[in-house]
Symmetry: C3
Subunit: 248 residues, 3 copies
């Protein structure tokens, strides 16, 4: 059983973030809320999303699973303005989810989740971390777009840097410790730096609400871990992105 | 002779509605106003439009006909803001219509109307009718777009329904009698229902001004008749759309 | 040496005008300001642009040359809002220009200017000239777009006319002396008229700031010269466009 109401803009925020990585998803539903864990088809990135029941206008659920095609959910979102309430109800006899927006009823076949295994989220101990307004990252990414396919992230005891080196041109976003919400590094190395594919990083960062703060955990030639809040703090996203190891 | 001035937004409203069906049209002009009757090339839909001389800022005409390419009239509309006045004058010696917007004069060759016959508008007695804010229909159509090519319209003594059934998903807009401006059904049958091509219905409904009320006349496996006002009540549109009869 | 700061909207105005003609350009820089002279690859039009140092928020330069790819400068402009300050600094050791916007540093390889010769701007004595708000020309051009590839410009003692004649339709923008900022003609002929390619004329006129006044110098079957100010009067543009001589 699953029956809930959610604000259109809250649902849109969730869908935008997840669909940067994957279109068909499985939500694991419990009385306390919903969770989702997914890797992209190329196994380069992983997302873990948690939404408390308090992020919904109303919420009632047993333990269940729901497989959704996010492109169809986007169609439902197009019918609503940001303040509208969207209701969702599992139609267990038919394997469908029923959406209601205003006077519209939209019945949607669920996606088969039997072959969707929850990926294991690795426990990583990363040596350097910062918190930064996502708007800075969004500008850094926009500047990098015609320069190269990869970006380097660096954290030292003094600054965070996003750098993109092309054959002729380069882009550099450098934020001193004073421009960051927080900066912590372990004593192991003078600087921590890894290289990442721009497209994955860019798609995610663009989907983060522009007033959010992102926590970035980094190490040398290791995956980066990004954490940020959704749904006014009632939801959270953890995103892991594999590094590109430069052959030498 | 034909010479008139019209507000750009009024002309735009007329052109938007007509061009959902056909591009080259014949206006029949009299001292009292203009009328147009046209069927689309596939003979699936028919439009009848009447505009009183009072819809114009100024108006002077004898009995005449004018054939226009609406794509060219749209080009003229692009030169004007909504409050602008567009003047039109028949240039009989040259078979042209002269548009003036601000300091621009646009001479437009008229389309030959000799082969354009006025279709006869059938007199239909349809058993059920409602009046409904077009904004509800616009949302129902938007919801139907990726579901199926056809929609079913139904009227009973209690409600109006727009339904779209796909192979896996479905959409349903249901409005109770209390949510409609009016609802009248004859005693002949418990419900009246016909199936229509979504694209024709959608193109028309999208072109109706969003604050308009549409009257829908319906019967079982019969054409639907839509009536609505334009030009602040000084113009009216009747639109007939053939049903799709499902083979059994 | 070259180091300057400029408002993003000022730089955007310059780039928009120049890039209607050519993408890779050479700026000649002196302590007093910057100049640019260029012809398009087809040798149909020529532009001369002068920007005083006062158009910049700060400015320090020796005599030098800088070759830029304007598409890359547009990428930098996309990172900034109109009130933002963009700083530019020549990195002489590396043949690069360094742009800074907010916390972003963008290093851009300079284009080799050794094969870019400054074209000679012909000294023309044209018999008729007007000054006209560019917004009128912008509307005249928009009206001409689907009519013909050429426009005729005419100046008499009484009026200015932009005319576009197609096979069936025509467009005409006529401005009386009283509607122009100024009108001066020499006594040599009753009217001065030349024909020009619409695309060149249109691209330039669309790039002129919409509140500008354009000075047009015209003669019979001669190039037209357009002059207008940029950067709140601290910059000026001279644009020459070759006529199309109709064979008879």
């Amino acid at each position: 059983m699953f029956k809930a109401e959610i604000r259109a803009d809250t649902l849109k925020g969730l869908v935008n973030v997840i669909s940067t990585l994957i279109d068909e998803v499985k939500f694991t539903i419990s009385p306390e809320g919903m969770t989702l864990r997914a890797v992209d088809p190329a196994h380069v990135a992983m997302i873990e999303l948690n939404i408390e029941s308090g992020a919904f206008e109303s919420y009632a659920a047993d333990q269940t699973e729901i497989g959704l095609d996010l492109d169809k959910v986007k169609d439902v979102l197009k019918l609503s303005s940001s303040g509208d309430i969207i209701s969702m109800e599992q139609d267990e006899g038919y394997g469908r989810l029923i959406f209601r927006v205003g006077n519209i009823t939209r019945r949607m076949n669920l996606v088969d989740t039997s072959s969707m295994n929850d990926p294991k989220v690795p426990q990583l101990e990363l040596s350097a971390n910062i918190e930064v307004p996502v708007s800075e990252l969004q500008r850094g990414i926009k500047a990098s777009e015609n320069i190269s396919d990869h970006i380097a992230l660096t954290i030292t005891a003094d600054y965070f840097e996003l750098a993109c080196e092309g054959d002729t041109d380069s882009v550099n976003l450098k934020l001193d410790k004073s421009q960051l919400t927080s900066l912590t590094v372990s004593d192991g190395a003078p600087k921590y730096c890894s290289l990442f594919p721009l497209d994955y990083f860019s798609n995610l960062i663009k989907a983060v609400p522009s007033d959010a703060t992102v926590k970035i955990d980094l190490d040398n030639d290791y995956p980066v871990m990004l954490n940020f809040a959704l749904a006014e703090g009632k939801g959270s996203v953890k995103y892991l992105l594999a590094p590109r190891i430069e052959s030498e």
